[in-house]
Symmetry: C2
Subunit: 225 residues, 2 copies
DNA sequence: GTTTCGGGTGCACATGTGTGCACCGTCGCG
DNA sequence: CGCGACGGTGCACACATGTGCACCCGAAAC
C-alpha cells in the first residue's frame, strides 16, 4: 500500500507485477494442497488472468515451482548467514539460533510450508532443487561446526563425523520447522516446540563435546563413574 | 501364485480380493505422485474395474488413504515391538535397531514411501492419522528410553527431557527413512545413510548419558578438562 | 427352486483441464 | 510519428474427472 503514484506503469514493471501475483497466488493455493494437485487454471483464476496468459511467465507449473524454491531459499539463506555471524558462544548460539529461525518461519510462513511439503511430495525437479539447497546448507554448516567445536577443546574428529553432526543439526532444523508449521497458529504449541528443540540441540551439543571419533569402546563417561 | 484351486471364490473372498487390488493399485500409483494428485478413475483403471465400482469398497480416496495408513502402521508397529524386546545392551541396540528398521523399509518400500509423502502432503484426515500414529510411537519409546537410560546410571531427568529425547529419536528415524527412500535403489548410498545414522544415534546417546536436566551451567564435560 | 442381495457394468452428464490459434491494444524503440 | 514486440484476451478442441442411474447376473438365503 505504498503511495499510489498514478504514473502509468512501465512495461517491465507491469510484467514483474503479474509475475509476482502468479507466485503469490500459487503460494496461497499451496497452503492447503500441493503443487502436484494444482492446476494451471486455478492459479490463473486466482491471479485474475486468462489461463493461456500464464505461459507468458512460466513454461509450466513445475517451472513455477522451481522459481518458488529459489525465492524461498534466498530468504532462508539470509537467515542462516545472520545466525552464523552471531556471537560464537555456543550456548547462546543455540537459543538465539532457534529464536531467529522460528521468527523467520513465522514471517515467511507460506514459503516454509511450501518447501516443507514439496520437499517430499513435489514434482521430481522441484524435489531435486530443494534437496540441492538443503545439502548446500548442510555442507556450509559442517565447516562452521568444525570451527566452533574444535575451538572448545574436543578430540579431533573424522570427516564422516563432521558430516554426521551437521546432518543431525540440519535434520533437527527441518523437523522443527515442520513441527511449528503443523502447530498452526497455536502459539502455546509453538513455544513448546521451541523449548523442546533447544533441549535437543543442547543434548546433541553435550554429546558432541564428549565425542571421540570411532571409539573402539564408545565414550560413555557416565558409566565410568 | 499359490496353487490355483479352481473352487469358485466365495462372495466375501472375492470382495476382499478386489479391495486388496485397489489398495495395491493406489500404493503403486502413489510411488511417483501423491494421494492428492490421484484420481478415482486412475485407480479404477489400474485395478481393472469400472470407476463407479470403487464406491462399493471406499467412500472416497481419502477413505482409501486412511486404510493405507492403518495398513502401513501395523507392519511398522510390529517392527518396533521386535526392536523393543531385543537385547537391552544399548550399543548393540543401536546397530540392530537401525539394521532392522532399514531392512523393513526395504521390504515394505511402497508403504513407507506412501507414509513419508502423505505425512506432510496428504489430505488433512490422512495427515492427522499419520501424526496420531507417530505420536503414539513416540510416547511408547519415551517409556522404553526411561527404562534403558536410568538403568545405566544417569542423573534423574525431568519429564520434558524424556519427551525431548524420544522425540529426537523418532525424528531421527523418520529422517533416516526419508533418506533411504530418496536414495532409491542405490545400495551404496543406503549403506552410507545407515552408517551415518548409527553415528548420530551414538552421539545422541553420549549426550544423554552425560545429561543433567535443566543445568544452570550446562554439563559440558569436555570444557572442564 | 425361487427370491434377494450386492459386486460389477454401461451410459450419461456437467464440469475441469491443458493448450493451440488468431486477435487486440498499448508501451517503447526506431 | 509509426510500427513492431509483447502481455493479455477469447474461443475452440479433445480429453479427463466425479458421480448419478438403471441394469445384470451369480452367489447366498429361504
Amino acid at each position: 500500500m505504498a503511495a499510489p503514484s498514478n504514473r502509468p506503469e512501465t512495461r517491465v514493471e507491469r510484467k514483474e507485477r503479474t509475475r509476482r501475483a502468479i507466485l503469490d497466488a500459487a503460494l496461497t493455493l499451496c497452503e492447503d494442497s500441493s503443487l502436484v494437485a494444482l492446476s494451471l487454471r486455478q492459479v490463473a483464476k486466482e491471479v485474475g488472468i486468462v489461463p493461456t496468459a500464464f505461459y507468458r511467465h512460466f513454461e509450466s507449473l513445475q517451472d513455477l515451482g522451481l522459481a518458488l524454491v529459489e525465492e524461498s531459499f534466498v530468504s532462508l539463506h539470509a537467515v542462516l548467514r545472520e545466525v552464523r555471524r552471531s556471537d560464537p558462544t555456543f550456548e547462546q548460539n543455540i537459543d538465539t539460533s532457534v529464536e531467529t529461525l522460528l521468527d523467520h518461519v513465522e514471517r515467511h510462513h507460506a514459503h516454509f510450508l511450501f518447501i516443507t511439503r514439496e520437499r517430499l511430495a513435489g514434482p521430481p525437479a522441484v524435489r531435486a532443487a530443494i534437496k540441492r539447497e538443503i545439502d548446500l546448507a548442510e555442507r556450509e554448516l559442517a565447516t562452521d561446526l568444525e570451527w566452533l567445536v574444535t575451538s572448545m577443546g574436543a578430540s579431533p574428529w573424522s570427516p564422516d563425523d563432521w558430516k554426521a553432526l551437521s546432518n543431525l543439526f540440519v535434520r533437527a532444523m527441518v523437523s522443527t520447522v515442520e513441527a511449528v508449521l503443523v502447530a498452526g497458529g497455536d502459539t502455546r504449541a509453538q513455544q513448546e516446540v521451541a523449548e523442546r528443540t533447544r533441549t535437543q540441540l543442547r543434548l546433541v551439543l553435550v554429546g558432541a563435546l564428549n565425542w571421540e571419533s570411532r571409539p573402539a569402546e564408545p565414550a560413555l563417561r557416565a558409566s565410568e563413574a
